[in-house]
């Protein structure tokens, strides 16, 4: 409700009126009813939370293709969504002990660096809508592979899910030695290199903040595949990462670009708040109902949709398609 109210307040502050079905969003240049932006946040937040992804990876193509908001302002507007959406989850995980700043810290520091660089890429090379959509298509292709993989394996959280065991397991720091850190959770332990985490955070940060994504779609597979960190520990790093990266990206778009002589790329603040209002509700519903959902089927279905979108975006870059999307 606070995000919804902020949407109306920022609309008046930024434009002097509430854009919607009759008056276009001045920066976005499109007419979209307020309820539709909220609905977009809600359905993408709900479905993507069910399959363990952030809303941005679906909200961004929906915004650029269906809602036709594809100029560079879409990126900071979506970053506002990726900043606000995980805050509820962040507070929840902190309460349940799925929280370790030694683990997340260097990754977040890398994200801050990436968030300072990515917006310059967006204002330069990626200002061209076709190049932007090509990169988005590649990101979607990567996510579709993850979803297909999960669908085939039939990943289920079950009794391994955090907080479902007896007592309150916490992610603890076992050893911190020079640049290495060993974390433990429910008997398992994993050693990670802080330098690698920082470099990973920075690289993913550049890509994600130039697109308008939270970065978990790249961080999660890296931590799972390279360091064998289990899925139920990963959010302790990716959720604070998405918040830190999005906040830095937003600040860079609004303040650092003009300070360094570039034109600022302001977000449609109201758009971001309306979408986040829906997104927070959607991910809350997902968290409450997740156990009853046939996850492999949903993974397969969303993986197919994501793959189809990826093919469309990538194909259109090389062979322009005869229809608008």
């Amino acid at each position: 409700m606070a995000a919804l109210a902020l949407g109306f307040v920022t609309a008046y502050l930024q434009h002097g009126f509430v854009p919607g079905a009759h008056r276009p969003y001045p920066l976005a240049g499109v007419r979209v009813p307020v309820w539709h932006v909220i609905w977009m946040g809600a359905w993408t937040g709900y479905t993507m939370a069910l399959v363990g992804q952030a809303a941005g990876i679906f909200a961004l193509p929906y915004t650029t293709s269906v809602l036709q908001f594809s100029n560079p302002h879409v990126t900071p507007s979506t970053l506002l969504l990726t900043f606000l959406n995980p805050i509820g989850a962040l507070l929840g995980f902190r309460r349940t002990g799925q929280w370790n700043l030694h683990f997340a810290g260097w990754l977040c520091a890398g994200g801050v660096l990436g968030g300072l660089i990515g917006p310059f890429l967006r204002a330069g090379l990626l200002a061209d809508v076709d190049v932007f959509r090509l990169l988005l298509g590649l990101a979607l292709a990567f996510v579709s592979v993850q979803l297909a993989d999960k669908a085939l394996r039939g990943f289920a959280a079950g009794d391994k899910a955090p907080g479902s065991g007896v007592g309150a397991p916490r992610i603890v720091t076992l050893v911190r030695e020079r640049a290495r850190i060993t974390i433990g959770y429910r008997g398992g332990q994993w050693t990670l290199h802080q330098g690698v985490l920082f470099a990973l955070g920075a690289t993913v940060g550049v890509i994600s903040s130039s697109l308008g994504l939270g970065g978990a779609f790249l961080i999660v597979p890296f931590l799972v595949v390279v360091y064998k960190v289990p899925m139920y520990v990963v959010p302790a790093a990716t959720i604070p990462y998405a918040v830190a990266l999005s906040a830095t990206g937003l600040l860079t778009y609004c303040l650092l670009l003009p300070l360094l002589g570039r034109a600022p790329l302001a977000p449609e603040w109201a758009w971001g708040f309306f979408a986040a209002a829906g997104g927070i509700f959607g991910s809350w519903v997902a968290a409450k109902t997740q156990l009853h959902v046939p996850e492999p089927l949903l993974n397969a279905m969303l993986g197919t949709v994501t793959a189809a979108l990826a093919v469309l975006y990538v194909t259109n870059f090389f062979f322009p398609l005869p229809f608008r999307f």
Partner: protein, 31 residues
């Protein structure tokens, strides 16, 4: 699985179908 849980299992697919319908409505009215 009781009736409520059955409904929850169908919910993501109902939501996706609704999203597709809303997208078609938007394209037909605003494009």
């Amino acid at each position: 699985m009781n009736e409520d849980h059955k409904l929850l299992a169908y919910l993501p697919f109902i939501v996706l179908a609704a999203a597709a319908l809303v997208a078609v409505y938007h394209i037909s009215v605003f494009w």
